[in-house]
Amino acid sequence: MNEIDIKFLEDSFKKYYFNHFDLITSPQRTSEREFGYQKFNSGMFRHISLKDNKELHLLFMQNIPSDVYCSNAYYAFPNSPMSEKDWKEADLIFDIDAKDLNLPCRKNHTISICNECNEISKDTNQCVKCNSTKLEKKSLPCKNCIDASKIEVNKLSNVLINDLGIDKENIHIYFSGNEGFHVYVYDSQFQQIGSKERSELVDYIMFRGAIPETFGMKKFKPNRSLFPDFNQKGWNGRFSKYIFGSKSKRSKIISELLDSGYPSFQKTLDDVSKNIGVKIDPNVTMDIHRIFRLPGSINSKSGLTKILCTNLTKFDPYTDACFLNDDPVEILANCPIEFKLKNKKFGPYTNEKILVPTYAAVYMICKKLATIA
């Protein structure tokens, strides 16, 4: 990114941070967390410990970071090197990202930027100009992406509350600032479990590794009375609803399943996993040392804010997470896809000099689809 663009983004971010300290509050037990941040065009600064809100706000003002992170873990010595931090426990965290949902709409709003010649084109596997395969993909997620992510968040909440016994009040849902949602679980029985155990939880939530016996299908002498029913709790109930559809079809479908046999049932389970399993990013949940984007900070992939969603159904990230100002800015835009921010449509632009509000300029520059004119 060039110096002028960086200066513009930093100025815009700084204004936001200065005016919205109310949105950036340090997490509970601040002094036990590790903080980290990035600046534009530079690496990560981490192993930082902060005492309170004041110190956190100072970090923002002094460094004007592009991104700020905070650990889900609690440490005795958060600013020591990793091996000396003395890990105590970690909140359970989840990342649901539209890019992992394999939605058909993706190809309509994904752009490839060639690393070799900077050519911008709609989603391809090869640069249309120089044939290079070194492409950087950028997506401008649409409403469909956000709605599909919300469905996953609701599926996740359901499993967390009903299966894993988490209190609803301890589940906090945030818009990630780009293409999805971050879910935090506080004060649960899982605070102290390690990475391996979390990986098992991931498989449970994603419905992975299920065996036919669990869902009533025995290898030898299968028996129809063992198949699950609609009113059962947990995955048995959810599986029944998905596979049988309605109570009237249950008996017929069980007969079909029995006829097809054990190996086919295993395949059914593996296929079903893609539909009923919750699509979370396994790496995030398994990581007990992660520094995760700080709520209230801006995501430099978009210029949108990571913000708490109190009403997920009504939440619209393109109005509710867009806090930058409307001051007009002249940019040179090469953005082949239309997008909407603060209820206003922008684009498509083909190498055009245009005057747009700051929030839209930041959005395109962050996506590498525009530069300051």
């Binding site: 990793m82 950087e136 016994g165 098992e200 396994p282």
Partner: protein
């Protein structure tokens, strides 16, 4: 502290305090080397170790009809266990400790299972749940026909199992709890039970040789030597997950961070050097030689915290969608084991 009756001590002899038990009964270790009556207990102890070293579980006399109520039978059960530990300590062979602890854990498991499943006798259920709580800090609550434990406790113990039936997804989970049958409840703690017993043996003081037991100890040393592990040979071929990762990179496609971590740690553990590995990543869409070098050095433990990272387990790779299992994987649990054959 658990207070145990004689029959409970016979079932769970590892809960008895060895020194105190002998003192209570008015015996010293030396007597076991010479007293012909007590020698019966020594023979029993030897038998107990032999059975364990053959990978089987010793069948107690207390399981035989009409024997469980006889005091001398129960006493001999406890003696033979305590003497077995003494004999193993005298051999100094760690292979024997492992085998014996595992076999004794499995033996205790059958009693715990019976006690838990004994719907008519609340005190037996209480004792079994107390043992599990005191030893392993797992609170088990009986709910109808099931034993219920918190999901987090279940996970802590089940993650070491490789059979798929132990995955949380294959358990009845409700409201933060896992519902288990008595046999599964007990199976869950087998390893810990084994560890508990082996740590008791390891921590027990080594006695000096008891006159009269030299031959038995020598016999056990011979048995133990036959149990030493076999050699392995390696085919040298890469496992499918590693091949896949290399393929992805060669095509210039994006390999996720977790995939790069797997590939780098695998190759480093196979003895490749950082400069040998760097070129593999040059086709990555976001290749930056400086960053790659930094990260590889970090993994190799030559920079940063000096921690040398090891290759993730197959289970972890499955969760990360990096596993491309083939028949040749042959139930390995870590890619590093691929192609190794025991001879």
């Amino acid at each position: 502290m658990l207070v145990l009756g004689q029959d409970e001590k016979a079932k769970y002899p590892f809960l008895a305090d060895a020194g105190e038990y002998l003192k209570d009964k008015g015996f010293s270790l030396v007597q076991f080397g010479s007293d012909p009556v007590l020698k019966l207990s020594v023979e029993k102890a030897l038998h107990r170790i032999k059975v364990a070293s053959a990978g089987e579980v010793y069948k107690s006399d207390i399981d035989k009809d009409g024997q469980a109520s006889k005091d001398y039978v129960l006493e001999r059960e406890v003696f033979s266990f305590l003497l077995a530990i003494v004999l193993i300590k005298l051999t100094g062979m760690s292979t024997l400790i492992k085998r014996f602890a595992l076999a004794e854990a499995r033996r205790a498991e059958t009693y715990l299972e019976k006690d838990l499943g004994n719907a008519s006798n609340k005190s037996k259920i209480d004792l079994a749940t107390r043992i599990i709580y005191d030893l392993f800090n797992i609170k088990i609550i009986k709910e109808n026909d099931f034993f219920v434990i918190p999901v987090s406790d279940y996970l802590k113990h089940s993650v070491t199992f490789h059979e798929r039936e132990w995955k949380l997804i294959n358990r009845h989970v409700e409201n933060g709890k896992v519902f288990l049958t008595p046999d599964k409840t007990v199976r869950l703690i087998r390893k810990e039970l084994g560890n508990y017993i082996s740590s008791k043996i390891i921590n027990a003081p080594k006695p000096s040789m008891i006159p009269g037991l030299e031959n038995i100890v020598n016999e056990l040393i011979l048995i133990s030597k036959k149990l030493t592990p076999t050699y392995t040979i390696t085919t040298g071929e890469y496992p499918p997950c590693i091949k896949h990762a290399i393929d992805v990179l060669e095509k210039g496609e994006n390999l996720p961070h977790s995939g790069r971590f797997m590939l780098a740690t695998f190759l480093l553990s196979k003895g490749q050097t950082v400069p040998q590995i760097v070129p593999l990543f040059k086709n990555a869409p976001d290749f930056n030689p400086r960053v790659t070098l930094y990260q590889l050095n970090h993994l190799a433990g030559t920079s940063g915290s000096a921690t040398k990272y090891s290759c993730p387990s197959c289970e972890k790779l499955k969760t990360q969608d990096l596993c491309f299992i083939t028949k040749e994987c042959d139930n390995i649990i870590n890619p590093m084991q691929f192609g190794k054959k025991r001879t």
